[in-house]
């Protein structure tokens, strides 16, 4: 391992940690080689910093001070009662469940008996199985080449969910994949999910990153989703990440859409010291549809970054993005959305919107909505707005007898509600709103 090229203390720490756990990480010889190569790549890239255009507003060299030991074969005891507490409003959703504690699969907390339409297995199986019969190739990552967080994920990935929805299947219930942080040891969790929606299937997958009350608050998570949506298939993917202000959450979702496929994504993010959701969508066939939305809520000195690249590589595709952010105290929000329309991607229809409410004078919102268009017969638009709560609206509510705090909550709710309405599953939508309400009632102002 070439430690000499490492620069910051954190980068050096990561190299030391990698050497320490390299032998303990699951995987065959081929996987070990893959990890070593990926870490070599990370070593060359280093942690992303503000001089790298894509990371201009989120500097991990500054943001990551301490390196936490990677969680390998963690056995922190968690009961199903704990799980319900940790899930909060999500616990009431009728869904198949797959649970990971500190990044490691836990059969005892999972339940997908009788699930029709989902083929589920832990990603660690794919890593350790010698035969290639599992057909999951851990070396396949479709995201941007040269991204340090992806390289780090490949180097340290321990587990995750492998979910397949067979052709034309339409599972009766959603699948809830839960990642819980538990115990008193701060650890780095690295997980990878591989999701394949077969042709003309229709399914809903919920990915929740939560913490057990009383667990250590400063964990680190690096997660990567490889999602393929087959011809004519439709998948709803709701990603929830909720924390208590001290953690680091780095997430990548690489989505590939085949002809006439639909990906309906939603990202709810709140409570991380630093969170970055990177979504990279590529259209592989005509008629693909993307409907991606999300809500992010930051207070204290939290920093939440949403970065999207929507790559219209083929004609006749549609993309819609709507993101809503609420910032309080010294909370910082970042939105970077790039729509690329390749030379032959005629008849592309792309729209993007990011809106932020700034509740306190010291909040900061940096936005960079980009269009890169090489085809002439397209309709593309983007918009971004940032402002504080409208005093007139507040006054109107108060003049109707609604107390100020309630009026504020009402207005904020309706603001983020617009994005949440994009979630079709009703109980899930309610649960998300419940999270937002809880966040709002914790409002100290």
């Amino acid at each position: 391992m070439n430690v000499a090229v490492m620069k910051t203390k954190a980068e050096q720490g990561l190299a030391e940690q990698f050497e320490k756990v390299a032998d303990k990480l699951p995987g065959s010889t081929a996987v070990k080689a893959l990890r070593a190569a990926a870490f070599g790549k990370f070593g060359a890239l280093g942690l992303p910093h503000r001089r790298i255009e894509e990371w201009k507003y989120t500097d991990l060299r500054v943001g990551i001070k301490d390196v936490l030991p990677p969680a390998v074969s963690d056995q922190t005891p968690v009961t199903s009662g704990d799980l319900i507490v940790a899930l909060g409003p999500l616990a009431h959703i009728d869904a198949y469940r797959m649970t990971f504690v500190n990044g490691n699969f836990r059969q005892d907390l999972s339940d997908w008996d009788g699930a029709t339409g989902f083929e589920i297995s832990p990603f660690s199986n794919a890593l350790t199985s010698d035969s290639q019969s599992s057909a999951i190739d851990p070396s396949v990552v479709t995201g941007p080449d040269g991204d340090a967080t992806i390289a780090l994920n490949t180097a340290l990935m321990t587990d995750g969910a492998v979910v397949r929805v067979p052709e034309q299947a339409s599972p009766d219930k959603p699948l809830l994949v839960v990642f819980i942080r538990a115990g008193r040891t701060a650890q780095l969790m690295t997980v990878r999910n591989v999701i394949e929606a077969g042709p003309r299937s229709k399914s809903t997958i919920i990915e929740a990153h939560v913490m057990l009350p009383g667990a250590v608050v400063d964990g680190q998570t690096n997660t990567l989703n490889e999602i393929t949506v087959g011809e004519g298939a439709e998948i709803a993917h709701i990603k929830i990440a909720i924390d208590e202000g001290k953690s680091l959450h780095l997430a990548n979702s690489n989505v590939a859409l085949k002809a006439d496929a639909t990906y309906r994504g939603f990202q709810y993010t709140s409570g991380q010291a630093i969170a970055r959701n990177q979504t990279h969508v590529t259209y592989l066939g005509e008629g693909g549809k993307l409907d991606l939305s999300g809500a992010f809520l930051a207070r204290g000195s939290e920093h939440i970054d949403t970065t999207l690249v929507v790559d219209h590589a083929v004609p006749h595709c549609e993309s819609r993005e709507l993101f809503k952010g609420v910032l309080d105290d010294r909370g910082r929000g970042v939105f970077q959305g790039k729509i690329i329309v390749r030379p032959d991607a005629q008849k592309t229809d792309g729209k993007q919107m990011a809106q932020v409410l700034m509740l306190s004078p010291d909040t900061e919102f940096n936005s960079k909505p980009e269009l890169e268009i090489y085809a002439d017969d397209v309709v593309c638009g983007h918009g971004t707005t940032s402002a504080q709560l409208d005093d007139d609206l507040l006054f109107y509510c108060m003049s109707r007898g609604i107390p100020q705090a309630e009026a504020r909550a009402l207005l904020i709710e309706s603001f983020i509600g617009e994005a949440m309405d994009k979630v079709e599953h009703e109980a899930l939508r309610d649960a998300l709103m419940q999270y937002a309400r809880t966040w709002l009632t914790n409002d100290k102002s």
Binding site: S367, L371, C380, T384
Partner: protein, 489 residues
């Protein structure tokens, strides 16, 4: 049918390879030796009889430039520029020494006449009284003549070439030079600071409304010569000035470098309106030749309630790298940016603006219309930022792009940075082609498809055109209609 014929003729006249300002004036000139080192800087300074402080300032800039590297972040691609393979100074021989219009080489006067820029005051007076424009004509590296000086002097307005300002008004130049665009601001600004040859200097005293439009006309004539002019405009308290800038160059096979710096300073309640019609030689239809236009333009709304407005029509240059910006330092100051960038052939445009809100309740508005045709790439790049303490600021940005043909590209790269909650920022951008329905409607009403496109495009850029001074508006409107018509079909 007559209309079609007429249109086709017009298209031929102004299509990329029909650049009508592409003639060359055969005139004897004095040149600095090829290449760039400290002696070049000293040579330029000596040619202009500059005081020591000016030379020191240039040398300081040159030292800084040497330590800098060329920026590569813009979405433009061109072979590496050999900065040693250029002439940095070229002046028509006959214009050295004191000059009145009668001393000016008739060749030069002819050149400007051909360009449609009258330099004789009586010729201008023949026009309507209200549309008089004072002109500073810059030919290669030097200013050849400035018109209406006496009349402006009566109003207290200083309008002269930069070299003259260094000699006659050193206190003003010393005070404001580099105060908006410092020597080390960026690679091209540093280069300009070291080797700038001439340009215009404007000072509008307190409370004066400049009695006429001021204008500078830049002409590159000499081969292999870079043009590096520097413009400094100061509007003192409560003053107002409207300033126009035009530029053209002969057609040549090799690329030529143009790296200008424009600094505007608006004190309390002052207003500066700066309009540019940039029509440097864009290269031929195969992308050969053309001007590399690397320009740093920045306005400083230093005073409260001050206002700076940039309007630009960009149709020329092989490469445009230009971001006229406003630093909104004063409370209640206002910045405006109106831009039309039309690219055709193999042109590459990376242009936009920066609105840096530092003062409370400052506001800004950005309207940018990009039109890409042929094989061109047209990028809008902008920054809107609000400082932590700049409360109550507002910005509205609208950048639209129109694509004509499937070989061109239009890109939008806006940065929006709000560092306090009372900043109210709105940004919207769209990209589209002219809708078939719209065209169909127009054609149904008897317009030909070329006319229909011209009509739609003129409607598309109307917001910006309205900001242009009268003199430029009609011309520009025609220019846009035509250069787009050429692209249809």
């Amino acid at each position: 049918m007559a209309a079609v014929k007429e249109t086709i003729d017009q298209v031929k006249e102004i299509d990329v390879d029909q650049y009508k300002y592409g003639f060359e004036t055969k005139i004897e000139s004095v040149k600095a030796p090829k290449g760039l080192d400290e002696s070049t800087v000293r040579y330029i300074s000596a040619q202009k009889n500059e005081p020591q402080w000016m030379l020191d300032w240039r040398l300081d800039a040159f030292q800084r430039w040497k330590a800098m590297t060329e920026p590569t972040w813009a979405k433009v691609h061109y072979p590496k520029i050999d900065f040693q393979d250029q002439y940095y100074y070229s002046a028509p021989k006959s214009t050295t020494g004191p000059k009145s219009l009668d001393d000016v080489d008739p060749q030069l006067l002819e050149t400007y006449k051909k360009l449609g820029i009258p330099l004789r005051e009586q010729e201008m007076l023949a026009g309507v009284q209200s549309s008089r424009v004072a002109v500073d004509a810059v030919f290669d590296s030097v200013s050849v003549v400035t018109t209406f000086k006496d009349e402006l002097k009566k109003a207290g307005v200083i309008f002269c070439s930069f070299s003259e300002a260094v000699r006659e008004h050193p206190e003003l130049v010393k005070k404001y030079l580099g105060s908006v665009v410092p020597q080390s601001d960026n690679y091209y600004a540093a280069l300009n600071a070291a080797v700038f040859s001439d340009g215009s200097f404007v000072y509008i005293p307190e409370g004066v409304r400049c009695p006429m439009e001021l204008s500078t006309y830049f002409r590159i004539n000499e081969k292999n010569t870079g043009q590096f002019e520097r413009t400094l405009i100061i509007a003192d308290r409560g003053a107002y000035v409207s300033y126009l800038e035009g530029c053209t160059a002969p057609m040549r096979d090799e690329h030529q470098l143009h790296a200008a710096v424009v600094e505007l300073v608006a004190l309390d309640d002052a207003e500066i309106k700066y309009s540019t019609v940039q029509n440097w030689y864009p290269g031929d239809k195969n992308g050969k030749g053309g001007i590399y236009n690397f320009v740093t333009k920045r306005g400083d709304c230093r005073g409260h309630h001050s206002k700076i407005s940039w309007t630009q029509v960009e149709t020329g240059s092989a490469i445009t790298w230009k971001y006229p910006s406003c630093i909104l330092r004063g409370d209640y100051s206002r910045g405006e940016f109106y831009s039309i960038a039309v690219s055709n052939g193999y042109q590459q445009v990376d242009s936009g603006t920066k609105m840096i809100h530092l003062g409370k309740n400052s506001s800004s508005r950005i309207i940018s219309k990009g039109i890409a045709a042929g094989h061109s790439q047209n990028t809008y790049r902008g920054l809107v930022s609000a400082h932590r303490k700049a409360t109550g600021v507002r910005n509205f940005t609208n950048c639209d792009s129109l694509l004509i043909g499937d070989k061109c590209g239009a890109h939008t790269v806006p940065y929006i940075e709000a560092k306090n909650s009372s900043a109210h920022f709105e940004h919207e951008a769209t990209t589209s082609k002219i809708s078939d329905d719209t065209l169909f409607y127009c054609r149904q009403r008897g317009l030909t498809s070329e006319e229909a496109v011209a009509l739609v495009v003129n409607g598309f850029v109307r917001d910006v055109l309205q900001q242009l001074p009268m003199e430029f508006m009609a011309e520009t409107q025609k220019l846009i209609g035509i250069s787009l018509e050429g692209s249809v079909g």
